[in-house]
């Protein structure tokens, strides 16, 4: 286990050290101590390493992550795992706005709640939230899966493209062009897999699925009110 203490080392030193790890590194376990809400912790990683951040983080923790597993034992500020490409990011606490924004791959697990715009513009990432999510989540979501074990706020999936949304609890309102869709066996399979990988005990059958009605895909004046 390697340790980096942000009380004595700089953000630059920490990120440079983690970014320097290559595919075959033997230093696979890293502990980041005293994060104290610092921004841009463990960003731009690209090696199969496991990083545990002992505490809470500021903005953009694990931004653009590739391959690495980043585990935050506290809560995460805005934009956690933004534009993640692959790997896994786990937040034990809550996540602020824009969690997983524009993520293109990998798995983001939030054990607490996520604030507004969770999964905004998601492009292939899988996001599993054990608690609730805020308003405008999955806005313009293009691809990937957003699984919410609690409730969803207003305007879920507004202007959605092809991202799949699964919510176990209530949905305060659906955004423009987002509709409830039938849960088919392949969706139960996706849910089973994601819940298992997220380590969350919930039954796939309890979720409802939401997706794009695809009515806004090409402009039609009769849909003008929805624009």
């Amino acid at each position: 286990m390697q340790k980096i203490d942000l009380a004595t080392q700089t953000l630059r030193e920490m990120n440079a050290t983690l970014q320097a790890q290559k595919d075959q590194t033997n230093a696979t376990q890293w502990d980041i101590e005293n994060p104290r809400g610092a921004h841009a912790i463990a960003v731009g990683l690209d090696a199969p390493i496991e990083v545990t951040v002992r505490g809470s983080t500021g903005y953009y923790c694990a931004g653009m992550n590739k391959q690495a597993t980043v585990h935050v034992t506290g809560s995460a500020g805005p934009g956690v795992a933004e534009n993640m490409m692959s790997g896994t990011v786990i937040i034990d606490g809550d996540a602020s706005q824009y969690a997983g924004a524009t993520g293109r791959g990998g798995l983001l697990v939030i054990k607490g709640n996520a604030a507004s715009r969770c999964g905004i513009s998601m492009k292939g990432i899988d996001i599993v939230v054990q608690g609730n999510i805020g308003h405008m989540s999955a806005f313009m979501g293009q691809a990937g899966n957003l699984v919410v074990c609690g409730d969803a706020g207003d305007a879920l999936g507004d202007s959605l493209y092809e991202a799949r949304l699964f919510v176990r609890g209530s949905v305060k309102s659906l955004g423009a062009d987002c509709v409830e869709k039938e849960v088919r066996p392949e969706h139960l399979e996706i849910l089973r897999d994601l819940l298992e990988r997220a380590g969350i005990d919930a039954k796939p059958e309890e979720f409802r699925r939401y997706g794009s009605a695809r009515k806004l895909y090409n402009f039609d004046v009769d849909n003008a009110a929805a624009y």
Binding site: V43, G79, M85, Q97, A101, R104, R117, N218
Partner: protein
């Protein structure tokens, strides 16, 4: 008295200046289709511009440099504030960000070739980085846009600079648009979208709002790229003083300021023509912001929007810009709107010089299209050569003017080298009206 003489004199038919033919045609078009007009290009209306400024040239109080003998440097370094590897360009004319998707792969390659041959940079756009342009661009600026199409850390790291796009002059406050016709398999894949759908790019970034967030976003991008490359912030011309100041505060190395004449691939005509400030009106407030912060020349200013000639380059620089960027002019140099395609423009209901339906993807010149047959019309090598020639000519023109004003570097051009032809230009550029020492709003003159 014959019949003719008995006729009562008629009034001649008078067209309304308010309800002009183009306006009436647009009303009929809107009534027939129910959708606003979308087009490419920049504002077509006449606004005060660089044409309204003149250089004074040398006189008894200043002596000129010998046209072909004495050196007049044109180089510029961008990103000296924080980046470990600032960009050094031979000429201060860069190629603005234009997306693959809006432009064909051949056009992107040609831009890279032409820019590299002329010793300058080119820029990606709203669609990610293509191999063609990375391969053919010695210096490539990678745009970080609200849509984040194709965004990935590997391309970030192989970029020579990053440009965070907050806005564009053609549509400050507006997002992007790529209509279904142009979403080919390759474009769809790069953007993670279904083929053939209208693709809307968001108007603001998904994971930050405001200058405090921007500062943290810049920190993140610097951490991901090891503080190596310069970070630019591009804004549309609206509140240039404050936007420039806030970009500096947020940690930008370079501010890119794009006026309302700046081109776009596709935006509502009403937006292009009615939102934003003319380029001429943007430069002085931005420079003043940099000066007020003690950052002029430390944070570089790139100006764009309607730059066409070496005179425009020299005027922008005399007003305080460090460099300029060109979009539309570069496309014309490649072959856009060339009279040789007139018969085809006619078939599309338009004419050479007016063709702006770039969003429809049927560009006869093969530039603003994803149609493989049309795109194949553009030879990237030949088109790249034309762009290089054009960039060289603009540079020579700017040097000619600078030497005539007695400067051995384009950066030494200054407001005192200029006079204004109109009151509007004088007011906007804060340059004295020709033959006077006065401009509207000049402090201490009582006006």
């Amino acid at each position: 008295m014959n019949e003719h003489d008995k006729r009562i004199p008629q009034t001649v038919p008078i067209q309304s200046a308010t309800f002009s033919n183009p306006i009436n045609a647009e009303i009929r078009r809107a009534a027939a289709t129910g959708i606003y007009d979308i087009r490419g290009g920049g504002a077509k209306r006449k606004v005060p511009h660089f044409d309204d400024l003149l250089f004074l040239g040398a006189s008894i109080s200043r002596y000129p440099l010998e046209g072909y003998r004495e050196k007049c440097d044109t180089s510029v370094t961008l990103g000296t504030r924080f980046a470990k590897n600032p960009i050094k360009l031979d000429i201060p004319i860069t190629i603005a960000g234009m997306s693959f998707g809006a432009l064909s792969a051949q056009a992107k390659e040609a831009l890279g070739r032409g820019a590299s041959a002329a010793g300058t940079s080119t820029t990606t756009g709203d669609g990610g980085m293509t191999e063609e342009e990375r391969g053919h661009s010695k210096t490539l600026v990678y745009q970080y846009l609200p849509s984040r199409y194709g965004m990935n850390p590997d391309d970030l790291r192989r970029a020579d600079a990053i440009e965070i796009v907050v806005g564009q002059g053609a549509k400050p406050g507006g997002g992007g648009m790529l209509l279904g016709q142009k979403i080919s398999d390759r474009v769809a894949e790069m953007r993670t979208l279904p083929k053939g759908i209208d693709q809307r790019s968001a108007c603001r970034h998904p994971d930050w709002t405001g200058p405090d967030d921007l500062e943290i976003k810049i920190l993140e991008l610097r951490e991901i790229t090891g503080w190596r490359v310069p970070i630019y912030v591009k804004v549309g011309g609206t509140r240039p003083y404050y936007d420039t100041a806030l970009a500096v505060k947020a940690g930008a190395d370079v501010v890119v300021l794009d006026g309302m004449q700046g081109g776009t691939a596709a935006t509502q005509d009403v937006f292009i023509e009615n939102v934003g400030l003319p380029t001429l009106a943007c430069i002085r407030p931005a420079v003043r912001a940099l000066q007020d912060l003690g950052m002029h020349r430390e944070v570089q200013l790139i100006v764009s929007g309607g730059i066409r000639t070496g005179a425009d380059v020299a005027k922008a620089m005399a007003l305080g810009a460090d460099a300029v960027a060109i979009g539309t002019a570069a496309l014309i140099a490649l072959g856009d709107n060339d009279p040789k395609w007139e018969a085809e423009y006619q078939k599309l209901g338009t004419t050479t010089g007016a063709y702006d339906d770039w969003h429809e993807g049927r560009d006869p010149a093969g530039i603003t299209t994803q149609d493989p047959e049309l795109a194949a019309r553009l030879d990237p090598v030949e088109a790249g050569r034309r762009l290089r020639n054009y960039l060289k000519v603009m540079t020579l023109e700017a040097q000619t003017i600078a030497r005539a004003c007695g400067h051995n570097h384009l950066h030494n051009l200054e407001p005192e080298d200029l006079c204004a032809l109109t009151m509007e230009a004088a007011a906007m550029a804060q340059i004295p009206l020709a033959g006077t020492d006065w401009y509207p709003g000049k402090p201490g003159t009582g006006y």
